[in-house]
Structures are given as C-alpha cells and as structure tokens.
Amino acid sequence: MTNNEVVINAAESVVEQPEKKAPIGIFTWICVGWLAINVLVAVLAPLLPIPDPNEMISMPGMGMSFDHLMGTDDLGRDIFGRLAWGSRISLGVGIGSMAIAFGVGGPLGMLAAYRRGKMDVIMSSVMFTFLAFPSIIAIIAVLSFWTPRSLGKIIIVIGISSIPLVYRVMRAAALSAGSKEYVTAARVQGARDRRIIFRELLPNVAPTGLSFLLFGVATVIALEGVLAFLGLSIAPDIAPSWGNMINDARQSLNNVPQNWPLIIFPSAILCLFILALNFVGDRLRSYFDVTEVKL
C-alpha cells in the first residue's frame, strides 16, 4: 500500500470518546420501573391476589389497612382492587388505540414520504383534511351514539381518530431521514425500495416513533379520563377505568367528604403514570438523537 501515512494511527484515533452519551439516570429508571409495575399488574391482574373490583367485600369508607391497602369506597369495594383492575381498561385503551393508529398511520406516513409524488399528495390531502377537524368532537359524537360502549369500541374510535396525527409525525420523520444522502447512496448501490425502507429509513424514524408512541399512550389515557368524566367511557359497572373511578369519586365525595382516598389514589396513579410516560418518552428521544451526541 502506498498510502501508509493515512492508516489510522494513535493520533488519528477515530473516536477519541467512543460515544459517551449522558447516562440514562436513576430517575428515568424509576419511571421505567413504575411503568413496568403498572403494566405487569394490568396484565397479571387475574393471577394476582387482587381483590375483586366489583364485590362489596367490606364496610364502606374504611381507611387504609393491611387487608385493604387503599381502603374501601362508599360501596365497600376495595379501592386498590378497583385501581388494579381499572388499569387494564386505561392501559388497554391507551395501548390498543395507539396500536391501531401506528399500525395504519406509521406505514402510510413512511410510504408517502418515501414515494413522494402523487401518492403522497393524495394521502396527505386526505389525512390533513381530517387533522383540520377537531378529533375530540368526532370522538364524542361517535361515542354518544355508538352504544353500548365497550372497551373495543372505544379503542377503535380513538385509534382511528389518531391515525392522521401519527401519519403526519411519521411522514415528517421519514421525509427528513429520506432526504439524507445515504438513501441516495443506497439506491446507487442497487438497493430496492423495500430494503431502503427497512434498512435505511426505519432505524432512523424508529426513535421518533417510539417516543411519540409513549406520548400518544399518555394522551389517550388522559383522554379516556375526560371521556369518563363526560360519561362517555365504558359504563363503570362493567369495569372501572381510572377515569371512571375519579368521576365516581367526585360524585360520592359530595355526600361523604371524609372519603378522600377515593379521589386521591386514582388521581395520583393516573397522574404519575402519565408523567412517567411523558418523561421516559422525552428521555428516549434525546437518548437516541444522534446529532445530540456528536461533538
């Protein structure tokens, strides 16, 4: 070899600092742990020794005790049991509807961004027209007529109404990744469309997608709370969602003001869960952001 002088030597050392990212941080891990506990409880609720949410197992309005970790409500039902079972509904709505939204909006957005041209114009005009319409009104309208409301129906309605938003985010992410020279370079190597979408685009839009997914779940869980407040979520006696519990508590608190755990616990859990989701989502985004680590 003639160009010995260019063989990387100690002085040139490619990466003097091999990608030292800011550490993930203990707080993020706490949030992740908290999210994991919630998900586990929701998934494993039937197997765990969790009190039945609808059974009046004890005196109403009991304080916290070993038997009833968070006390009982005004009908003598175990609050912890109701919260744990309720997480199945709340998380189900959040994750289920986002699965629909990402399952449809994600691929469409990426395809539109990659292909551009007519396909993009047509899909984007449809999607952006829907985006212009306030989706909360559509959701309320559909849910007030489509009765009886079940978990599945709520997931479908929220999921479909979120498709345009996910489409827009994923399309924007893929557009920016797709305009990079490495996509052109891959084409020059002879890579076909599918390979480019999976090898070049997907890894670069995945972090954006993942963090947006977490924000989406958080938003939908909060939205379900709002729907419950309006009496538009699943009827509380089938299974209580967190939102339903807060709504119930608000009404019963008027009668029994000292029964504060009834409103404190569901609100706190809901808040903490959403906060943790948002925080982890944000941290993920910066963790995977390649440009932020580059010196």
């Binding site: 070899m1 003639t2 160009n3 002088e5 260019v6 063989v7 990387i8 490619v14 990466v15 091999p18 990608e19 990079k180 020279e181 490495y182 052109t184 370079a185 891959a186 084409r187 020059v188 190597q189 002879g190 890579a191 076909r192 390979r195 090898r199 070049e200 890894p203 670069n204 390649v290 680590v293 580059k294």
Partner: protein, 325 residues
C-alpha cells in the same frame, strides 16, 4: 497522462435534464456531450448551480434525464427498462459531497461497506467479511478496531474513506465523485485526494471528478471540462487548458482562483455580475451577459463545441487561443 487509452467507457451525447418547478422549467443540464476513456480522470468544474451534480446524478439515473443518451461500455442506459438499467449501473458508482450524511448513522461500518454485496447477494459469511476487511484496509481504516462502530462515530474524512470503500465493493469501472473533498479541511483533503489516486491505479478506475475547486480538479484530472449554466464551455487536457484557456469564462475562473502565494501576481481582471437564472437562460451563448468579448453574433447564434487541436475543444465564437499547432 499515459494511463488513459482509447477505449471509451462512458459516452454522453446531448444529455439534458430539465426540472419542473410548478409551471417553470429549470434547464439544469442543457445538452452536453463528452467521452470518458478507460483509465482517465475527467474533471468537471464550474460555479455552483451550473449543473455539475445534476450531470453526475443523471449519469447514475438518480434524476431522470430528459434528453440525450448515455452509453456505458457501448450499452445505452436511458432506453433500458428498470431492471436492465439497475444491472448496467453496477459498473458505475458515485460518492457524494457530504461525507457524514452519506452514511446511515445507525448502521455499522462493516454493514455499510457490505451493502452492495448484500443488495446483489454476491457474498456471504466469511467471504463477505474478508472482502469488507480488505476494502477497509485499503482505505486506511482498521476493520478489526472500527468495523463494528456506527457510522456516526467518525469524522468527515473517515466517513469519506468509508464511502470510498463502499463504492469499490462492486469493483466498478466508473467512479463519479461529486465534490468529495469540498467539505474537508486541507490536510484531510490531501489525504483523500492521494487515496483516490492510489485506488484509481490499483482498481483501474475511470473517474468523473466533479468539483468547484480549480486547484483540486487540476491536481487529480487528466482532462478537464468547464461548465457554465448547463452547457460545456471547454474541454481539454488539464495542463493545456489551465495554461492556455480558450474560453473567456475559463480564463476568468482561473484568474479568480486564489493561489496560496503572496508573491504571485493575482489577475486584476475579475468577472462582474452573477450567473443568470437557469429558468430563463440567455439566447445564443449562455455566457454572453458577463462576457467582455460578446458581440451580436454571440446573442444570435449558439457556439458549438469545436476542436482546436490537442484534444482541446471550445464552445466560443471568439476563442482566446487559435488552433494549437
């Protein structure tokens, strides 16, 4: 230089690329013709926006050409269907200006270099690894230490080396380099230029070297073509063309190039004005709005590229040098 022989690898005939901008048409490349002989390096210079990159991209069919023909080893590229064209393009490779964005930041170096092998299913397993290691060694990157690193961990010069390794994986006949050293510091730029010279010899490459920097182009090219507003002004052996430019534009371009020497007299003749918009190019000679020698003939009649001897061609009604003896 003597390495070039008379076998034509790439022949471009009246290549045209027109972009549509709403109702308007940008005539980015307006009918250019040239041949590339086996083993030579042809430099393509001109100011930004004159259509250099578009020419390179049209040759690779990254942007569709709207007119003319491209012959690669005698096969016409633009008339082929998608799959045939993809096959023929295996003989050609391109390296881009921005070294960092040319590499996917989320892929490992050895996968990036192996990309063409994977696309064409040419090698697998140990064979693939050994080809990749060999290529990385050739460009001066230790595969054992850096092969598993992500592209984002490298500096501009190193990214450009990786791009070069990738482009050589298919053993191309023709390498198109689009401003490959423009984003690099001089000391790194010299490393890459030397590397390209060495690899060109080793792999018997034919190169189209696109750049705006006259000194860089002179350094690496056997012949140089000068472009202005989508047209070729002049083409010829680099030493002749730089010593005796025949087109007024080349003359001004050379006069404006700054030599790193305080005692060298700089040309006092600077070119005024700016290139007109390709949306609405001047009639006749496209340089006439800035040319001090322009006459009515220049506005009325488009000068064609014509031979003035010694392989030197110029498109000007009133060239600065007559026919070479």
């Amino acid at each position: 230089m003597s390495e070039a022989n008379n076998k034509v690898v790439l022949s471009v005939k009246d290549l045209e690329v027109t972009f549509r901008k709403g109702r308007q048409r940008v005539s980015a490349v307006a009918g250019i013709s040239f041949d590339l002989y086996e083993g030579e390096t042809l430099g393509l210079v001109g100011e930004s926006g004159c259509g250099k990159s578009t020419t390179g991209r049209a040759l690779m069919q990254i942007v569709p050409s709207t007119g003319g023909q491209i012959f690669v080893d005698g096969d016409e590229l633009t008339s082929l269907n998608k799959d045939e064209a993809r096959n023929l393009r295996r003989k050609m490779q391109m390296i881009f200006q921005d070294p960092i964005s040319s590499l996917n930041p989320r892929r490992r170096v050895k996968d990036i270099v192996a990309e063409p092998l994977d696309c064409w299913k040419l090698a697998k397993g140990a064979e693939r690894d050994s080809i990749v290691s060999d290529l990385l060694n050739k460009v001066g990157i230790d595969p054992a230490v850096y092969g598993n690193r992500y592209a984002r961990q490298f500096s501009g010069g190193q990214c450009q080396r990786i791009s070069i390794a990738r482009s050589l994986a298919m053993r191309p006949r023709l390498l198109i380099c689009d401003e490959v050293v423009s984003a690099l510091d001089v000391s790194i730029q010299a490393q890459i230029l030397n590397l390209l010279e060495d690899l060109k010899k080793e792999y018997g490459l034919t190169m189209l070297f696109i750049a705006h920097d006259l000194a860089v182009v002179k350094n690496i090219s056997d012949r140089v073509a000068v472009m202005y507003l989508g047209k070729l002004c002049e083409i010829g052996p680099s030493d002749t063309l730089y010593a005796k430019p025949a087109h007024p534009y080349t003359e001004f371009l050379l006069g404006a190039a700054l030599e790193a020497d305080p005692e060298l007299e700089q040309s006092s003749a600077t070119l005024g004005g700016e290139p007109p918009s390709p949306l609405n190019p001047p009639s006749g000679c496209r340089f006439r709005t800035r040319c001090p020698f322009a006459t009515e003939k220049c506005a009325a009649e488009e000068p064609q590229l014509r031979d003035i001897g010694e392989g030197h061609q110029v498109a000007c009604h009133f060239p600065l040098v007559g026919a070479h003896q």
